[in-house]
Amino acid sequence: MPLSKRIIPCLDIAHGRVVKGVQFVDIIDAGDPVEAAIRYDQQGADELCFLDIRATHENRDTLYHVVSDVAENVFMPLTVGGGIKELSDIENLLHAGADKVSINTAAIFNPQLVKDAALRFGSSTIVVAIDAKRVADHWECFTHGGRKETGLNAVDWAKKMADDGAGEILLTSMDADGTKEGYDLALTATVAETISANVIASGGVGTLQHLADGLLLGKADAVLAASIFHFNEHTIAEAKAYLAKQGICVRQK
């Protein structure tokens, strides 16, 4: 079997708890991050992604505790994002037990950050998250949950970040996110074919077929999903069995 395609459940974290919400509104408490991590571990998730959606300077310690608790209980790659602004934030997260960090807004406002971080911690540690939205005939990068336009062409930006040393691009389509109608496959495939770094497809998953589409048509190296796993619509094991039937190489537990 060759290198497996990865299935990555994503958990939104606020104030040290897992939260569920749609478009950052109606956020409800959805439990303990460690319990959720253990559940996904048992289901055979290939990695976990934790995004602190309420990251502020004051609650950093809470996030470090969450990461540390999770890393003591599950033994798989752990990506953590939210509020990373400088090298010391990355160092603290890695020290707490994260394997990779996801940098979003700070990469745009401080383009040197990704270069410095890749040199210091290694490319495989640095994930750059891109929130892309279709504008006319191309895609642009947005920040602040898709509210602020940056004027950056998303495909060019992905290439620049990969050239600067990002090992992976976590590519979220703001158009698809929350729709449950599937990934933006054109966006995903365009970025995947343009850059040499790994691409994680994100935003829009509503069915298991969407995961397959992201890998086969979107040519992603990994697929990230939140709600279909959160709300127990499907387990990771079901997703893998479904993908395997379509000839996609996935790791069976």
């Binding site: 079997m1 060759p2 290198l3 497996s4 395609k5 990865r6 571990d41 290939d46 540390s68 890393a71 003591e72 599950v74 033994f75 798989m76 790659p77 890695l94 020290h95 707490a96 037990g97 394997d99 911690f121 290694g122 490319s123 495989s124 540690t125 090992g167 992976e168 074919e193 343009t194 850059i195 040499s196 770094a197 790994n198 040519k219 190296d221 990994a222 790791r251 537990k253």
Partner: protein, 210 residues
């Protein structure tokens, strides 16, 4: 309880490896000095970072000589990722640097990337451990039929095939994912990140009787 000396050279992923070794049933001590190494039952050299920096720290602390002495004395040694690569004679990562020279051969980059073929660097994700003739290796045999987690851009190329204990293939490029001899084992993948398969392997290492 077996005491594992985990070499701390200031840049490894100490936290993950410590927790995994504890979960697998050992007591873990972070080792910074040659003297501390003498008290241990097992040595683990973890790996994240650059070859040059790792060797520089080991040399500065005198840990390079101490590790070699312990290996000579027959103590079970496990090198993980970069900790495997420094077992080689030399590395071409960011220049040319000398390693611990336990295994003849060099550390080399993967061949050129071929994005159009889906062959990206780093090699990142879950892939095989093909044991071939070494299917009964006391530590590696626990990984029969399992996939494990890899993250790396460079590979070990031993001069002698007998030092290759297991192989993996990425794109169309086969490489040594486990090397060693006698009481020495180096693995390119991360057992501490490979869920139950990795914990099983670490347990076998803890229980390893030469």
């Amino acid at each position: 309880m077996v005491t594992v000396g985990l070499i701390d050279y200031g840049m490894g992923n100490m936290h993950s490896v410590t927790k995994a070794l504890e979960k697998a049933g050992s007591q873990v001590v972070h080792v910074h000095t040659p003297e501390a190494l003498m008290q241990m039952d097992r040595i683990v050299l973890p790996g994240v970072g650059a070859f040059r920096d790792c060797m520089a720290v080991l040399q500065e602390k005198g840990l390079d000589e101490a590790i070699l002495e312990r290996i000579q004395a027959g103590m079970p040694f496990l090198g993980i990722c970069l900790g495997m690569q420094v077992l080689m004679q030399s590395s071409m990562e960011f220049g040319f640097y000398q390693g611990l020279k336990v295994i003849p051969g060099a550390v080399k980059p993967f061949p050129e990337t071929h994005p159009e073929r889906g062959f990206k660097i780093p090699h990142m994700g879950w892939n095989d451990v093909l044991l071939g003739a070494n299917h009964d290796h006391p530590v590696l045999s626990t990984l029969q039929g399992q996939q494990v987690y890899y993250v790396h851009s460079y590979v070990c190329v031993p001069d002698q095939s007998e030092h290759i204990l297991a192989a993996c293939s990425y794109g169309d490029h086969p490489f040594a994912c486990a090397i060693g001899h006698d009481n020495v084992l180096g693995v390119q993948f991360h057992p501490e990140k490979s869920q139950q398969a990795g914990l099983n392997m670490l347990k076998a290492f803890i229980d390893w009787r030469i």
